[in-house]
Every structure is written in structure tokens, then in C-alpha cells.
């Protein structure tokens, strides 16, 4: 009386899970540490999508899921659900970031300077096959610059505002405690800008890239120019109950501002930021943000469309749920279909005809 293929439910699921875990072998602290130390960009991606900044837990999640990314993100988000919220951090300002890399495509040079920082952008993407032949690859050492770039950099948009190129920033009347929090309240539409950016921050990288790319190719109304892209580290500043503010540590962050056309005499800016260093995600996400206003309902750049469909845990979960048995609903459909056929045959026998069927019929 159960799912015919896996009768004896409890035993079957137990053994199916064992099969999966057997292939991964014993997971110990050393394996977790190796993943953490050697895969920082993967860790960053997982932490961003999980909205949980903890490299060790992210590495553990990757270890116990064998690198199945959507499973790793789900495990971390589920763990997050059990943890109390202790404090709300002070908002991060761009000019306070410890900046490792910061570039602009909009100007040849910018106040504070273009800082390439760590990147593969200009590397030749050649597989280091020598490593497999027994010749380890040891990266050549970096030559220090004569004068190191300043650790903190001004915001380019601030300079643009001073020049009257970008609309003046509206002073926010919202206290940090009252910034809407997507993880504690549902996403409703039209979404607040805070919710939109938070949702993009935790969106699935591939999904954001696909929809952002669609916008870039022309399914949006704005072709982006990278105004400023930054990767760096942000202090997490929280308030002690006695009132003093202190830094609880630093987190790696990425942010992108993209711009396109003018609107009302100013350049419009799209923005995105996320935990971890993930440049492709923030550029694609900022492009979606830029295209959101005036986007046709139902288009790839309409916020309801892209926010819903880039939500990693929901999208992957719903996709795999179709593996669950659906035989009750199927039986119900079958019953209506058989009855309709019988009715049609009876009607035709009586010489009656039905109105032709439409090409597409709404499915309730």
C-alpha cells in the first residue's frame, strides 16, 4: 500500500541514506579543515546562499553532502533556523570596508585608484596538469607594491553625487533595528528595497547569473556598466548591552554597482552585495536590481519573477519534490478524464457536439 518501488518505507530510506554516506566515507575534522582551507570561493558561495557566515560550518556542510551544493545550502539554512538572534549589526558603509579589490569600468581612473587585487580575470585558464605528473604547483610570490594601496577606499558613487551625476542619496529614516529582515518575515510584493537586496544576497548564484545574463543580452532594458565592483572585509559591529559598540569579527563581502542610462538627469545605479567573494553573482544581481523598475510584469527582470525563481532552497526543493509519489492527485485527474470521455461519447451518440477545446487551458 505504499510507494510500490520502495515498500517498507522506514527501512528503505535508512538504507538509501547509508548508500549515499558510504560513498563519502568517514568525515572528520581534518577533512572539514581541508575543504575550508582549500576551497575559499566555494565556501564563500555557500555561505552567501545560506545567509550564514561561518567557514567551518560551511565546510562541514560541503563535507557531509559531498559537495551537492543545494543540499549544503539547505543544511546550513536549516541549522540557522535553530539559532537565536542575539544582536543586529550596524550597517556597513562602503568607505569603511577593508578593500582588497576595487575596480570601475566607467572611468579609466577613479578617486582612490583602481585596485586589481586578487583575481583570475587576466590569467590564462590553463589546467595545471603538471601537478598530476608529480610536480606540485607552488604559486610564485607576490611582489609588494612600492606604496601599498590604502586599506579603505571612498565610494565612487559618493564622488558622482558630488559631481551631480548620481541622484543625492535619500537619508534613511529607518533605524538599523527596523530594517526589514527577509529571514524573519515573508517576502511580499512589491518588495521593499531591503528585501529585494537581501533576497538577491542569498540567491542561487547560477540562477542570478542566468536571469542577469538574460537582462544583459537584451531581455532587460538596461545594459550595465560596472560603476564599481569591490571585494573586501567588513567589520561586524554590534552593541554591547551597556551601550558600547564593538567589532565581533570581520566577514568577507562583495558588492557591485552597475549603471546604465540616465533618468531624470542622473545616472541610475543598480546595487547588490553578498557574503563572501562572488563577483559574478553581485554583477548579475546588480543588473537585475537596475532593470527592476518599470520591468514588464512576468519578464525575467521583474522582481517578483527573479526573486522567486533564484531562491536556491525553494527552487531546488520544489524541483526534487516531483520525485515524491503523486498517485492520489493523478487518480483524481484520471477520474475526471474518464468521466468526461464517457460523457462526450454519450453526447456524440445523441448527436450533440461540444465547443472546441482552446489551445491552452488554465490549470487550477
Amino acid at each position: 500500500m505504499a510507494y510500490v518501488a520502495t515498500r517498507g518505507g522506514e527501512k528503505a530510506i535508512e538504507q538509501a541514506e547509508r548508500l549515499f554516506r558510504q560513498d563519502l566515507g568517514t568525515i572528520d575534522a581534518a577533512r572539514v579543515e581541508t575543504i575550508r582551507a582549500t576551497m575559499p570561493y566555494l565556501i564563500d558561495r555557500v555561505m552567501g546562499e545560506a545567509s550564514l557566515y561561518d567557514e567551518e560550518l560551511a565546510a562541514l556542510a560541503l563535507a557531509q553532502t559531498g559537495g551537492e551544493l543545494s543540499e549544503a545550502v539547505l543544511v546550513l539554512r536549516a541549522w540557522r533556523t535553530t539559532q537565536p538572534r542575539l544582536a543586529i549589526a550596524r550597517p556597513v558603509q562602503q568607505h569603511e570596508l577593508l578593500t582588497q579589490r576595487r575596480i570601475s569600468a566607467a572611468f579609466k581612473d577613479i578617486p582612490g585608484g583602481q585596485i586589481l587585487g586578487p583575481t583570475l580575470d587576466y590569467s590564462h585558464r590553463v589546467l595545471a596538469t603538471d601537478v598530476l605528473l608529480g610536480k606540485p604547483f607552488a604559486p610564485p610570490s607576490v611582489n609588494k607594491a612600492a606604496s601599498p594601496a590604502p586599506a579603505r577606499q571612498p565610494s565612487l558613487a559618493d564622488w558622482q553625487r558630488q559631481q551631480g551625476l548620481v541622484a543625492p542619496a535619500k537619508a534613511s529614516a529607518v533605524s538599523p533595528e527596523d530594517i526589514p529582515d527577509l529571514t524573519r518575515e515573508p517576502l511580499l510584493f512589491p518588495a521593499s528595497r531591503a528585501h529585494r537586496l537581501q533576497s538577491l544576497a542569498r540567491a542561487e548564484t547560477g540562477g542570478v547569473l542566468a536571469l542577469g545574463y538574460a537582462a544583459m543580452r537584451g531581455y532587460g532594458n538596461a545594459h550595465p556598466t560596472v560603476n564599481e565592483l569591490r571585494i573586501g572585509e567588513a567589520e561586524v559591529v554590534v552593541r554591547h548591552p551597556r551601550g558600547t559598540e564593538f567589532s565581533a569579527g570581520r566577514v568577507r563581502v562583495s558588492q557591485a554597482e552597475v549603471t546604465s542610462k540616465e533618468k531624470g538627469g542622473y545616472l541610475e545605479l543598480g546595487f547588490a552585495a553578498t557574503f563572501g567573494w562572488n563577483e559574478v553573482k553581485v554583477i548579475a544581481a546588480a543588473t537585475l536590481d537596475l532593470n527592476s523598475d518599470e520591468a514588464p510584469v512576468g519578464s525575467a527582470v521583474h522582481e517578483e519573477f527573479y526573486l522567486y525563481h533564484t531562491e536556491s532552497v525553494e527552487a531546488s526543493g520544489f524541483c526534487i519534490h516531483f520525485k515524491l509519489p503523486h498517485y492520489v492527485t493523478f487518480q483524481s485527474i484520471l477520474d475526471a478524464m474518464r468521466d468526461a470521455k464517457a460523457k462526450k461519447a454519450a453526447a456524440e451518440a445523441a448527436g450533440e457536439t461540444y465547443v472546441a477545446e482552446p489551445e491552452e487551458e488554465p490549470v487550477l
Binding site: 500500500m1 518505507g9 515573508p186 515524491l324 509519489p325 492520489v328 475526471a336 461540444y354
Partner: protein
């Protein structure tokens, strides 16, 4: 005040998995859902250790209700031993210490995907239905903001029109499961993908039904003794699946919703979908009397 007052001792997880603030949010929303029957209440919907679409909405409702004295029954397609039902039931008992059962009569909470048990639920029982898509208007209006406004205006014209067109074109309403139903004369809800057979069980029921969609972050309820009326035209009666005359090949019971099993040689045989009802009938036939409660359908006719 010190930092200690802000925090708590580290624990791998909270009791019942959800942390206290998640539970409070669900409690607030459940109360509002009961106050406005059939109206979808948005909630944050935390991630739980199961994939979205696998009963995470139902699970969050159950985890909010559960305590160590609860008795939990979980079914999928009517079966207690379905793989996902077994997984959910095991998880609930593991994080709450609640007992597990297959028997509708002894459960305090029944969490279900796609079925309502055949035995009548009592006034002290809660039915938690897992909902994949909470929006009955999705088929006629995919934009949720517009659909929400339509509920606010009680504007169900498009839905009625679709049902009417089905009658014109096919001679009957083609809706299979998830039959849109009017609750308390005001809000149209989807009763979750339960077959049409099960919808009358929610009308003026003794038990409380909580419907929860984790992925879509919506929660709604049908309190006891609340009208749930499938949308039908007065001259076209509501049709449940034509299962009244089918007999279960294993337990011999008849007049209940059945699973159809196609046979190699053509044709089909049937097994009762409420698997524990079948087991009770088999046990009784084999000399171990097992109490079968009063059922909503008697001799294939709805008679509660």
C-alpha cells in the same frame, strides 16, 4: 544588563527544532489564520532539515504544536509507510519526544500530504495539511500581488469563468485534486491536493485543519464547524471520484478512496488509499480485532 542576558547556553538545536522566535511567529499567524478562515497568512517560513516541497510548511506547523505528550501520525498519499511520511514522522518524534502512531483514532496531530483520513477526526485533533501551492487563483492570475488583491475584493469571477468554460467544453468540471472551495462564505482556498473525495470532510468538521505551504510561505486554516463549499454551479452537482463501488483487493473494504494498480494483462485492481484503515480491516478479519472509527463515507456515500 550583560551579554549573558542576550544569549543562552549553546545548544546544537532547539526543542522541536524551531527556535523560540520562529515558533512565536507561527503561533501568531496560526491564530490569525483561525480568525479569518481560508485566508492565506504570509509567514517567514524558516528552513527545516528537509527540502522545500517535501512538507516543510506542514512540518513547521506541527513542530510549533508538538510537545512530548503529542501522538503524531504522518501520511503521504494516505499511507503511513510512504518514504517521506516515515521520514517526517521520525524527524518529529526525534526532535520533540512525541510518540508515533499509524492509527487516526489515537493521534493528536495528523500531518498529511494529499489525503484526509477516512475515519472521522474528533474535536481534540488537528489535521495539518502540506500545501504545495496555496493560491487557488494561480491558474487564472500568476502574479501573486494581483491575486492577493482579488482575494481582498472577493473577486472570484475569473475562477468561476474557468470552471464554466470547462463545463461548456468537456461536459463537466475537469478539476482533479485541489478543488477550489469557498470557506466561511468569503475566501476561496485550495484545500491542498486532496482528492475531491476528501473536500466534504473539511466542511463543518469537528477537527481543526491547518494548511501550510513552506516554500510559498503561506498558512491558512479551517476551524471546526466552518463551511467549506466546493465551487459548483447549482445545476451541476459536485462530483467526487467514482470510487464508491470499488473494493480493496487486500483488505476487502469498499466504498473508500482507492489506489488504482494497473495490471500486466490490462485492467486494474484497487487497494484502499487510507493504508491503516486497510490494515485494521485485515487485522480484524484475521482475528485481531482492531477498532475502526466511524467513517465519513458509509457504503460509498458521504454521510457525516
Amino acid at each position: 544588563m550583560s551579554l549573558a542576558t542576550l544569549t543562552k547556553d549553546w545548544a546544537a538545536t532547539s526543542y522541536g527544532f524551531l527556535d523560540a522566535s520562529a515558533k512565536r511567529e507561527l503561533r501568531r499567524k496560526m491564530l490569525k489564520a483561525i480568525a479569518v478562515p481560508g485566508c492565506q497568512m504570509p509567514y517567514a517560513s524558516r528552513e527545516v532539515p528537509m527540502a522545500r516541497g517535501w512538507g516543510t510548511g506542514g512540518l513547521q506547523a506541527t513542530l510549533t504544536l508538538v510537545n512530548p505528550n503529542s501522538v503524531i501520525k504522518v501520511i503521504d498519499q494516505g499511507a503511513d509507510d510512504g518514504v517521506n511520511a516515515a521520514s517526517i514522522r521520525r524527524f518529529i518524534s526525534r526532535v520533540s519526544g512525541a510518540s508515533e502512531t499509524w492509527d487516526t483514532l489515537s493521534a493528536t496531530i495528523v500531518q498529511s500530504r494529499h489525503r484526509v483520513p477516512e475515519e472521522i477526526m474528533r474535536e481534540d485533533q488537528v489535521l495539518v495539511l502540506q500545501v504545495p501551492n496555496p493560491e487557488p487563483l494561480r491558474g487564472v492570475e500568476p502574479n501573486i500581488s494581483i491575486a492577493r488583491q482579488m482575494h481582498a475584493d472577493a473577486d472570484y469571477g475569473k475562477l468561476w469563468l474557468t470552471l464554466y468554460e470547462q463545463i461548456v467544453r468537456k461536459g463537466r468540471i475537469m478539476q482533479g485534486a485541489s478543488y477550489p472551495s469557498m470557506v466561511n462564505g468569503r475566501h476561496v482556498m485550495t484545500p491542498s491536493p486532496i482528492p475531491r473525495w476528501d473536500v466534504p470532510k473539511l466542511n463543518m468538521a469537528r477537527h481543526l485543519t491547518i494548511l501550510s505551504a513552506g516554500r510559498e510561505k503561506r498558512l491558512y486554516a479551517v476551524p471546526p464547524y466552518t463551511r467549506v463549499e466546493p465551487l459548483v454551479f447549482s445545476d451541476r452537482p459536485y462530483l467526487v471520484e467514482d470510487h464508491a463501488d470499488l473494493t480493496c483487493r487486500r483488505s476487502g473494504v469498499s466504498g473508500f478512496f482507492m489506489n488504482e494498480l494497473p495490471q500486466d494483462g490490462g485492467g486494474s485492481v484497487f487497494e484502499v488509499s487510507d493504508s491503516n484503515l486497510g490494515i485494521k480491516a485485515i487485522d480484524t478479519a484475521q482475528g485481531t480485532p482492531s477498532e475502526i472509527g466511524e467513517t465519513w463515507y458509509r457504503n460509498g456515500e458521504f454521510s457525516a
